[in-house]
Symmetry: C2
Subunit: 346 residues, 2 copies
């Protein structure tokens, strides 16, 4: 949720984005006809944290990457991010994405940046009109068979594709932060999106070592963020009620349901909790108790008192944000290796 | 939740339990005065799945264990469980709890079973009147400084202790299934429970290699099961709405929030998602979007159509319950080792 909700915060759209979607590329059609689709080139639109992480992943998987972002200093920022990410990817046996020999390019114009792209992964500001303009420009400049994916967490593909000639080409390819480590990609498309568009996106993300999941319907927050929000609402409630502190609640999660859900999801966990009869027996025997517990769950709001309490306790995590993030990344790498989740190469 | 909710299903209490709480032990007081509290003996009341798992853990940590359960064939059942658990504990570097040289005893009478115990861990039927009778019998027979802990997930300590001479001795020590692998123990007590009672329970569970968390208040479901229930409610909603299948939802969880929460809880995750400003910045920027998402979350009931859908899909987990459970245990062991969660010896 971190990265995706971060996008909501882009209330102020940086000025360069506002004149970003111009200059169709006359060579695009010809280049598209010659494209061979061995996933040779990715265009990453928007070079924030998520864009940089996608860039690292695509480079590590052998693609050339063009980063398209009008922000001043984008190249330095991306290269700094790659330098930070490289050691983690190397621990997964992937190449050094911070090497100067990596096929990394920068082009602030969409029309030329997307030329020849096999995949366009967009991570621009979460503003509908900007997305719409960007995708019209992408469509004009990109090969006819390029995969079009937005990392958006909040704007449906059907909405941002409305100005495209072929809106059925666009899907949501929503990663979980950071995309270069966390396997999930949620693929969400309008109900009339052709199956082959979705199939090709699934194949692409699998080739990048990801675990794509195709949602059958567009729904706010998609699946992972909805589940996360449901748990977090109860978490805020329990802290606000004074049952446990933030740190205690975190420790409860890591030492029980977190480690459980890292190896088996909630349905399988209850399936195995039902004895030989599995989930049906679980529901039969324990469904009423679970329904009763659902009735007691709390609600939460970020009112002044709650925010004050959460803020005070947030001083107690035992390290700076950078230190804690480094520890988290290290632990996630160890977990990925331990669970053999390190996917095969592209 | 599996084991704890399982207890709710004990609508029929096995006959032996009904005449279980008798025969105070006249030697108890004298023995208590000589007790040295190096955690030498545990009495496990109730030899079901959870009782057997506690038994394995206590044996592995060097305690003598007396299992107190009136059920016929209890010794064979416990020994069979220990044989199944032993390989997992050996992978964690712990001794073979299925060895015939283990100090394992069986005594169907509470009064004598608890004599000399440092800890009494009770896992009897989730019926208030039975719990009350059991704890009166335990109090009569056990050393004056023995730790009294119930594994109950649904009956507050204050309720089950109401017939005891010193009700402040009893706490909930609620494990997560299976206790021999999952680190969490939730310690929950009445508001007037003396601090030293809680401190001694914390010290004991730590010595057993667990990660105890003390809740400040009694609340239905405690913390882990409430959080799990909150997420599962949304999970059932999403499957019932046809957004994803059970198996897809499970995969979403394991490949995103599950692996995240195995290494850092929900508060720290958002703390790190807030940038250098941490959780306060996260709430400032993204709180409104999160509150908006909370409003869209679903509800669920186990009505006929939902149960039918969940039952049909539960055939698609890709293995028998036994096979899947073995895979889960193996993965959890690898995760525990990878995250250095294997605790130091007692």
């Amino acid at each position: 949720m971190a990265h995706t909700l971060t996008a909501f915060a882009d209330a102020v759209v940086p000025a360069p984005w506002q004149e970003f979607c111009v200059h169709p590329n006359p060579e695009a059609t010809a280049m598209a006809q010659n494209a061979e689709h061995h996933y040779q080139k990715a265009t990453v639109i928007g070079g924030g944290v998520i864009g940089a992480s996608w860039t690292a992943l695509f480079l590590a998987r052998g693609l050339a990457v063009t980063v398209c972002d009008p922000a001043p200093g984008i190249e330095q920022r991306i290269r700094a991010e790659l330098a930070a990410i490289a050691p983690n990817l190397e621990q997964l046996g992937l190449p050094d994405v911070s090497s100067s020999s990596m096929p990394l390019h920068f082009d602030p114009q969409i029309a030329t940046a997307v030329a020849g792209a096999d995949i366009v992964q967009e991570n621009g500001p979460e503003r509908l009109e900007i997305k719409q303009q960007m995708w019209q420009a992408v469509e004009s400049g990109a090969p006819a068979d390029a995969i079009f994916a937005s990392s958006s967490s909040s704007i449906p593909a059907s909405a941002m594709a409305s100005g495209m000639k072929d809106p059925g080409r666009l899907i949501i390819g929503h990663p979980f932060n950071p995309p270069h480590l966390v396997p999930l990609v949620e693929i969400v498309a309008a109900s009339d999106t052709p199956a082959d568009v979705i199939d090709r996106a699934v194949a692409f993300y699998r080739a990048m070592g990801k675990r794509p999941q195709v949602l059958a319907k567009e729904i706010p927050g998609f699946v992972a963020n909805r589940l996360q929000a449901a748990l977090f609402r109860e978490a805020v409630y329990l802290v606000a009620q004074g049952v446990v502190s933030e740190q205690q609640l975190d420790d409860v999660v890591t030492s029980s349901i977190g480690m459980r859900w890292a190896v088996g999801g909630p349905f399988q966990s209850f399936h195995l909790g039902g004895g030989p009869g599995g989930l049906p027996d679980f529901i039969r025997h324990l469904g009423p108790a679970l329904e009763a517990l659902w009735k007691t769950l709390g609600t939460a709001t970020f009112d002044g008192a709650t925010v004050a309490m959460l803020t005070t306790q947030s001083a107690n995590f035992g390290g700076s944000v950078d230190e804690l993030a480094a520890r988290r990344d290290d632990a996630e790498l160890r977990l990925l290796r331990a669970l053999d989740e390190v996917p095969a190469g592209a």
